[in-house]
C-alpha cells in the first residue's frame, strides 16, 4: 500500500507537458490557417507575462496542496501586496527594497495566520483561508476605491517590462522560484515531510514528522509566493490595485493550474514542475484564443471545460493504475 502510494510521487514529469505540446502544435496550425502567427515576439512575450503572474501564485499553491491543505486567500493577498508595495514605494526608487520586504513580510504574516488556523485551531483549510480572505476583502473594500500608490520606476522597468530576447525578467523570476521550490521538495527534509503529511498525516506524525510546523511553513511560503506575484503585478500596473487578485480569479485559477499539473487535490502527490506545465497550458490557450480573436466569454467556457477534462483524464489514469 505504501509502496503504491509512493510510486506516483517519484514520477517527475506528468502528462501535462504532452498536453501542452499538443495544444501549442494544434494552436499553431489553427492560427496559421487563420492567417496569423502564434509564435511571434509579442504573443510569446504576453504569454510568458501571463504565465509569470499565475505561475508564482500556483507554485506556492502547490506547496499547500501537496501538504493536504489549500489556500483560497491568495487572491486577496495579491491585491494587498500590490498596495503595500506601491504605497510604500510611493514612486521613489529609494524605498524599493523596504517596500518589497514589507510586502513579503505582510504576506508571510497572513500565511502564518492561515497556517496557525489550520493546524492549531484545526479549522478546515477551505473555511480558514476563505475566512482570512474575507477579512482581507473587507479591509480592501473599506479602505480603497481604486488604484493607490505608485510603483518605483526602476521596478517597473526591470521586473515589469525588461526582457531578455522574448523572455521577460518576470518569467525568469518564476523559473527561479520554481527551481527553489523543486529543490526544497525533492532534496530537503522539509519537502519529504510535506509530501508525507499530505499523503497521510497520521502516519507522518507517528514517523516523527512535526506536522504542524511543516504545514505552517508551507502556508507561509504559499502566501509569500502570492505576495511576490503581487509585487510583480504592481510593477506591471505601475500602482497598487485593490481588486487585481480577485478580478484575475487567481485563487481558483491557481488551484486549477496545480491540479491540471498532476498534483492531487487531496495532497501527497505531485510537484511544482507539473504546476508550471499547467500554468503554461492555461496561458497558451489564452494566447491562442487571443490570436483567433475568440470572444472573451467563449474563452471562459472553453477554459472551464478544459479544466474538468484535464482532471478527468488524470483520474482515469489513476483508476487504471489502481486496477492494474
Amino acid at each position: 500500500m505504501s509502496a503504491l502510494s509512493l510510486l506516483p510521487a517519484r514520477r517527475p514529469v506528468p502528462g501535462v507537458f504532452v498536453a501542452l505540446t499538443l495544444t501549442l502544435a494544434i494552436g499553431w496550425l489553427v492560427v496559421l490557417l487563420d492567417g496569423g502567427q502564434l509564435f511571434n515576439q509579442s504573443t510569446t512575450v504576453s504569454l510568458l507575462h501571463v504565465a509569470a503572474g499565475l505561475g508564482l501564485v500556483a507554485v506556492g499553491q502547490t506547496l499547500v496542496i501537496l501538504g493536504g491543505s489549500l489556500d483560497l486567500s491568495v487572491a486577496y493577498v495579491i491585491s494587498l501586496s500590490t498596495l503595500v508595495a506601491a504605497e510604500t514605494m510611493n514612486g521613489s526608487d529609494g524605498a524599493l527594497l523596504p517596500a518589497v520586504g514589507l510586502a513579503l513580510a505582510v504576506s508571510a504574516g497572513i500565511g502564518l495566520l492561515n497556517g496557525l488556523l489550520v493546524t492549531k485551531l484545526r479549522v478546515n483549510a477551505f473555511i480558514a483561508t476563505l475566512g482570512v480572505g474575507l477579512l482581507l476583502k473587507g479591509y480592501l473594500d473599506n479602505g480603497y476605491d481604486g488604484p493607490a500608490g505608485t510603483t518605483s520606476p526602476t521596478l517597473v522597468q526591470s521586473l515589469g517590462y525588461q526582457r531578455i530576447g522574448p523572455v521577460p525578467v518576470s518569467f525568469l523570476l518564476l523559473v527561479a522560484v520554481t527551481a527553489a521550490a523543486w529543490f526544497a521538495l525533492s532534496k530537503t527534509r522539509f519537502g519529504h515531510h510535506l509530501v508525507a503529511v499530505g499523503g497521510d498525516p497520521e502516519v507522518a506524525r507517528l514517523s516523527g514528522v512535526r506536522n504542524d510546523r511543516i504545514l505552517v511553513t508551507a502556508h507561509v511560503l504559499c502566501s509569500m509566493c502570492a505576495g511576490l506575484a503581487g509585487i510583480y503585478l504592481a510593477s506591471r500596473l505601475g500602482s497598487g490595485a485593490p481588486r487585481v487578485g480577485t478580478e484575475g480569479l487567481y485563487d481558483l485559477e491557481s488551484i486549477a493550474a496545480v491540479v491540471i499539473g498532476g498534483t492531487a487535490l487531496a495532497g501527497g502527490r505531485g510537484g511544482v514542475i507539473g504546476t508550471v506545465g499547467g500554468v503554461l497550458l492555461l496561458a497558451s490557450i489564452d494566447a491562442i484564443f487571443n490570436q483567433l480573436e475568440v470572444d472573451a466569454f467563449f474563452k471562459q467556457v472553453i477554459r472551464g471545460a478544459i479544466i474538468i477534462a484535464a482532471v478527468a483524464v488524470y483520474a482515469r489514469r489513476a483508476m487504471r493504475k489502481a486496477a492494474a
Binding site: F126, A128, K137, Y139, V259, G304, I308
Partner: protein, 327 residues
C-alpha cells in the same frame, strides 16, 4: 448486506443528529437579543416576516449545499447558476406574462440538469467536486455573458417577480406573509422529510464513510449525483425568488456559493461529510442574514461586511473544532 446496512445506520444516527443545533441556536438567540436592543421595531411581526422572505433564497441555497456537503462533496457552481438562471429567465420571458410558468419549469429543469452534470462528472469521471463545480462556474458565467452579448436582455414579467417580492397582506397576527416565505417553508419541510427518509440516511452514511456505504450495498455515485441535482434545484428556486426580489443583473448570484458554504458550516455541518443536519444548515443561513441586518443597524459600513463575516466564520468553526477535539 441488507441486514448490515439496517443495523449500523440507525445506530449511528442519534449521534449525528444532535450536537449541531444547540450552538447555532445560541448564536441566533444572541443576535436576536442584540437586534432587539438596537432596533425593537425589527422584531415586530410584519418586518420580521419581510426579513424571513428576503432571506429565503440564501436559506434555500444553504439547504441545497447541505445535501452536497453532507455527502462529502462541494458545489461551487451555485452562485453562477443563480446568475445564469436569472439572466436566462429575463431573456426568455421578455416581459410576456404568458411565458411565466413554462420558464419557471424550464429553470427547474435547467437547475436539475446542471446538478446532474456536476454529479456525473464528479462520481463517474472521478473529478474532485471542487474542480468539477469550479469548471462549471467558469462555463456558466462565460456562457451566460456570451449568450447575452455582455448585457442582460429582456425583462421579467410581474407574474414571475411576485414570488420574490409580493406577500399576503393584512394577515391577522403576522401582518404580512411573503410568498417567498411560503415557498421556503414548503421546501424546508420537503428537505427535512427527505433527510428523514431512507435517502437521507444513505446520504449521511455516504458522506461519513463512502467505502463502508459502498460495501453495505449503497450505490454511492447515484446518491451523490442526486445530492448535486438537489443543489441545482435549490439554486433554481433561489434564482426565481432572487430574480423577483432584486431584479436582473450579472451580479445576481455573485459570491452566493461561498455564502451558502459559510452558512452550512456555521450551522454545524462538517466539511467532508457525514455530520450535521439540514435544519442546522438553514439556521446557519438565517444567522448569517441576521448578522448582516444587525451590522446594518449598527451602521457598520457595507464594505466591512465581509470582514465581520470572515471573523465570525473563523470564530465559530475554531470554537467547534477545539470543542470536538477536546472531547
Amino acid at each position: 448486506m441488507q441486514t448490515v446496512q439496517r443495523r449500523t445506520l440507525p445506530l449511528r444516527l442519534p449521534r449525528v443528529r444532535p450536537g449541531g443545533l444547540l450552538p447555532i441556536l445560541a448564536i441566533l438567540a444572541v443576535l436576536v437579543v442584540l437586534v432587539g436592543i438596537r432596533q425593537p421595531d425589527f422584531l415586530s411581526p410584519p418586518s420580521l416576516m419581510s426579513f424571513l422572505g428576503r432571506s429565503a433564497p440564501i436559506i434555500l441555497l444553504a439547504a441545497g449545499q447541505y445535501f452536497v456537503i453532507v455527502s462529502g462533496e462541494f458545489d461551487l457552481s451555485v452562485g453562477s447558476l443563480v446568475t445564469a438562471q436569472v439572466v436566462v429567465a429575463a431573456r426568455l420571458i421578455d416581459g410576456d406574462p404568458a411565458r411565466t410558468w413554462p420558464v419557471v419549469l424550464l429553470l427547474l429543469a435547467f437547475g436539475a440538469f446542471v446538478g446532474l452534470v456536476n454529479g456525473l462528472i464528479t462520481t463517474r469521471l472521478r473529478v474532485p467536486s471542487f474542480i468539477t463545480t469550479l469548471g462549471m462556474f467558469l462555463i456558466l458565467v462565460g456562457a451566460v455573458y456570451l449568450w447575452s452579448d455582455g448585457a442582460p436582455k429582456g425583462g421579467l414579467s410581474e407574474e414571475f417577480r411576485r414570488f420574490g417580492r409580493r406577500a399576503f397582506e393584512d394577515v391577522p397576527l403576522l401582518g404580512r406573509v411573503p410568498y417567498a416565505l411560503l415557498v421556503l417553508l414548503a421546501l424546508a419541510v420537503v428537505a427535512v422529510l427527505l433527510m428523514r427518509s431512507d435517502f437521507g440516511r444513505t446520504l449521511v452514511a455516504v458522506g461519513d464513510n463512502p467505502r463502508t456505504a459502498e460495501l453495505s450495498g449503497v450505490r454511492v455515485w447515484r446518491t451523490r449525483t442526486i445530492a448535486f441535482i438537489l443543489s441545482g434545484l435549490a439554486a433554481a428556486f433561489a434564482a426565481i425568488l432572487l430574480g423577483g426580489y432584486s431584479g436582473v443583473s450579472f451580479q445576481a448570484g455573485a459570491g452566493l456559493e461561498f455564502g451558502a458554504i459559510t452558512a452550512v458550516v456555521l450551522g454545524g455541518v462538517a466539511l467532508g461529510g457525514g455530520r450535521g443536519s439540514v435544519v442546522g444548515a438553514m439556521l446557519g443561513a438565517l444567522t448569517l442574514e441576521l448578522l448582516f441586518a444587525l451590522m446594518n443597524f449598527y451602521g457598520v459600513s457595507g464594505a466591512l461586511r465581509s470582514t465581520v463575516q470572515g471573523a465570525i466564520i473563523l470564530l465559530a468553526v475554531a470554537v467547534s473544532a477545539t470543542r470536538s477535539s477536546s472531547r
